[in-house]
Subunit: 353 residues, 4 copies
């Protein structure tokens, strides 16, 4: 498949196109909107999230609730755009009137203006680099999830850590404290894929390895700084005898590998660990330089979120769903869901046979 | 660029082709062989490494020590092949005579035979899934390193942890103990890229993000289970005020981000953390099932390495070198080294300007 | 670049996304609309063209008339959609109510229903396979043309033949006669690129050859059945002494090669010949089989065009513009138009130097 | 699949790697050598062809005559290399001693030295741009043909025209005459694919159209200047009623479309027309400029072939075989030949059902 996302944070709309879906996926629009809504929630989010109640509008590729194998395109309107026309209109906007010159540490701002020659205004950078883009990836994932469900595969994310805390009460407490402090928090989540057939991905070439592909997808999410499979970084502390999943006549009893050996799914749950850095826009402001004046400045905070780990977990889950469906199609082909399902079922039968 | 690697562990030769190198890279053959040699060393390696003293033979793409922009192909002979002809010869070999049926936990064996229909013999799987393949990736990286050097960019790997120990004496002690035990150890390394121009990679699309691309490359290395950028997984424990790199008139004073913000190089060192699981082939043997008989079995140990973290660090370093040159070419184009260098220098001048 | 097009012929909208454009392309919306309008005109077109006066709506990637390097997405509304909601709505449409069962020879209908499992209804096939899709490719090309213009490169299409006639009066006469007959006509056009720098494309790998890439793009246009470069098929009749372009101190005096030698631009005009088959939907109807009943039937004619060669020439021209800009970016890189322009100018200076 | 070819005309060896072949293709080495031999023959070839009797040496990916799904790498030694070591050795050669400065019209020479900065020596260009590279593509195609055969698909090339003559006696006479004249001849061939299942390729996206993909592959062959499908350029002279293939209860009675409608195979033979320009290296020499002296010169003739259309037809046939297998794998997936075959058979049954 090809997934293209487009759209600025305060532009007219976010746009997504998924090319290569099989025909015959049954889609429920509200399931997609439900994921979009989950992305906007979570303890620790600030004001803007309430403005947007994102809803998908499918423009092509689906008729009567079923995919037709043609490119599935969709848009998610930016409700705030009407207040931003003066700055963002494709032909009449003046982005200079909303210039951001105190480039924000932890963001694309400074490198972006140098790369793309935007002079002393990081506005065009942040409009695209913003995590708002993840709404399109969640929508795409929510579509793929419905295909996966029909194939007997589920993908679920779960917050593991926020600010180093691993139970919900402590997490909330940490968020409250950070907010009072004008500070922010990062965290870590697990994404788990259940029901994968054996042999998705391949050991024969590096960019066909399932773990490599998943790492690319997950690391590309805004604010992700670590991707782990199974026990991940903890393997650096373990012995071989503590690290592998012995095979018995009735299957395996451990899953330290996280469901991937030799770059392929091995039939166990795929277990991924994803770490998010704290939001770099702090209410208390980080020190920076104003690229227009060359003088020291305080980085502005465009939004008041203190912790986005819950939302980011929704993103990681949906991004994984897209990647998993894509990998299934690479391994099994399939112009139609019927073909794809029968080929996966055949593999499953063979596994057991 | 396109990098293709080929070759089985006990086949005639490993083969690599790099397509898309600019013309005019000056190459020193012995620098490539030196990296190949480093890959074969390291405390904790066993017997086979001594058989092979890998040497590259370049077959095309280089004349008189300079690249000519044509595909650079090379081979690394498998010295052991003469003893394996009976089993591995492309037309006359009988791989059934070297059948591996007690599929090894932690390896591609079991999933591989199911995927590719090899029945009860994992030999064809392990011949390709073996970490022997990394010799071609090291050779490719060693070539790219010489181009990077001419561009003022260095890539260096350093072992950080072995079996949880972070100083050399303790690491060696841990390896000795593990070997006595018939056990193995994993570890963690850092790969550091110095001299990157700003703005390599891009925030505009997920698969153009520099961290995403690097994560794919590193996670694809045999036995890698975690990839981190900058503080990586530790961000899950930190506050925003402890996590970002403030910007001052004379530059930054920290590099927690590991040199990548918004999917782009930001001019600081790129710092990557890579974790390797312990070698899954233990002298003491893991429990498994013989897929031919269906009975419980002990996984054979094809080689006697106890810890390959030093070698794996050489691999990670060279794999990074390839990925970095590839990313530079995506950003700057360049049919010739001269063009590439002048464009990078121009970017650097602009950064400072 | 990546170009994705989406949209059904009677769906809500056609959608396009161009990823990888440099920043700083100055865009005039009306120039895009002018190309869209040209695509809808031409002697020999029937009724539907009048319903649609296609206009682009840019959704992202452009602010204040300049590209910002982010994905440029756009839509072109299908004005007819309101009459088709009942059949085509993504969630509530019933495509069975507009079933097409008498599969049309010369179209994707029959193969499409078999491939995608649409049973006896080719409606979902023709909605996407329709040449209506070319509106998005024209819009994309019209955007690229404005970048090319700033780089000193023009792309122009010209009808050469319609129904075997090569002057305008005879072409019109042939079209009139064919229409009276309920028949249709094909033809042939030339696309000419002026101002290309030397060395775009490459001889080093088959899929980097400029002629190969252009052939892919042009052959992918609905109804194209032949692509030629320079003298094209006529080379089969010529001697070497009549076929090549000798080189003199003051340049070449012929351009039989069509500006491409060894898979690269050689500085002469690039000259491409493109042949279109006659429209397969004839008023007088072709014989076919109704896939629902299995009985003989006459293929319905959804539209009354008799000859679309003029429109198709506009498509070929714009498709070429996209491909040419893409190839320039592959050769020269360029995050910004300024960089791209200066690198091309440098190559041109070198050529002359 | 990925196909990479490498190697210079007078370098050590030509190298090829095919990645993505399914496991279980039964290969006969001599069938590959037979195609390599055919490529070297044909009326009108000169001296060098006799030096080389190309033979493939498979280095990986095949054991005991069956593919194992790992990258299949091979080399074809350049027997002449021993006489060229002084100039071409990767580290010790001095390519300046075999400088070509009178750049040859019709070749990559002039554009190549400008692109890659080779100064006044086109030797590095011609070593790679040479049609010698097609030996690797023939070998790759010959491998794919054996897979296709097992799938019930054949690919055959046939010379249609040489120097405008369409029967063998006249072709030979034309070649004799051209040779006496120190001239060369071009021609045209047909490549025909029999046994394709319906629905390979797709109408949903431009670069998935089967005709577009085939056009890319064929146009990339050295000296090809036109690619046609079915009646090809002749469609420009025809009416719709003469152009399409009506559908009857017992199938079609014509195949003007050449087996592809809507970018997909339609079950009829795929029929491709490929035109080759005359060899640009004439014994009588074309006028050019010596790029070292800047003075007029006569282009040297490195080889004495007068007509290579027969050989080029072998190349076109084998290049098509590679492309066809690749397209089948895109549509049907398939880790093993068994899977691929059963999916294709299922499609065929459905077609008839």
């Amino acid at each position: 498949m090809i997934l293209v996302t487009a759209g600025e944070s305060h532009g007219k709309a976010l746009v997504g196109v998924i090319e290569g879906l099989p025909s015959g996926i049954t889609l429920d629009e509200e399931k997609i909107n439900a994921e979009l809504s989950l992305r906007q929630q979570g303890y620790g989010r600030g004001g803007r999230m309430k403005i947007e109640t994102d809803r998908i509008e499918i423009l092509s590729g689906v008729i009567g609730g079923r995919t037709i194998a043609s490119p599935l395109s969709f848009e998610i309107k930016n409700k705030d755009y009407e207040n931003w026309t003066e700055y963002m209109d494709p032909f009449h906007g003046d982005v200079g009137k909303k210039a951001l010159t105190a480039v924000r540490p932890g963001h694309a701002d400074l490198s972006g203006i140098i790369k793309y020659g935007f002079g002393a205004n990081a506005r065009p950078v942040l409009e695209r680099a913003s995590a708002r883009e993840t709404a399109t990836r969640v929508a795409a994932g929510a579509i793929c999830k419905q295909a996966l469900e029909a194939l007997g595969i589920t993908v679920n994310g779960k917050v593991l850590l926020i600010g180093g805390k691993d139970d919900e009460a402590s997490m909330h407490e940490a968020i409250r404290a950070a907010r009072l402090d004008g500070d922010t928090l990062g965290g870590r989540c697990e994404v788990r894929v259940k029901g994968m057939p054996i042999g998705v991905g391949s050991y024969v070439r590096y960019d066909r390895k399932l773990d490599a592909v998943l790492a690319m997808h997950l690391m590309s999410i805004q604010s992700v700084k670590a991707v782990e499979v199974g026990l991940g970084r903890d393997f650096a502390y373990l012995k071989g005898s503590e690290s592998h999943d012995e095979i018995f006549k009735d299957g395996r009893k451990t899953n330290r590998a996280g469901g991937i050996e030799g770059g392929m799914s091995n039939g166990e749950d795929i277990v991924l660990g994803v770490t998010f850095k704290p939001i770099p826009t702090l209410m208390k402001g980080l020190r920076t330089v104003d690229v227009k004046t060359g003088e020291p400045a305080t980085a502005a905070s465009e939004r008041s979120d203190c912790c986005a780990v819950e939302a980011a977990t929704v993103v990681a889950e949906n991004v994984t769903a897209y990647a998993v469906l894509d990998e299934l199609l690479k391994t099994f082909g399939g112009d139609t869901m019927k073909e794809l399902k029968s080929r996966i079922d055949e593999r499953r039968a063979y596994d057991r046979g």
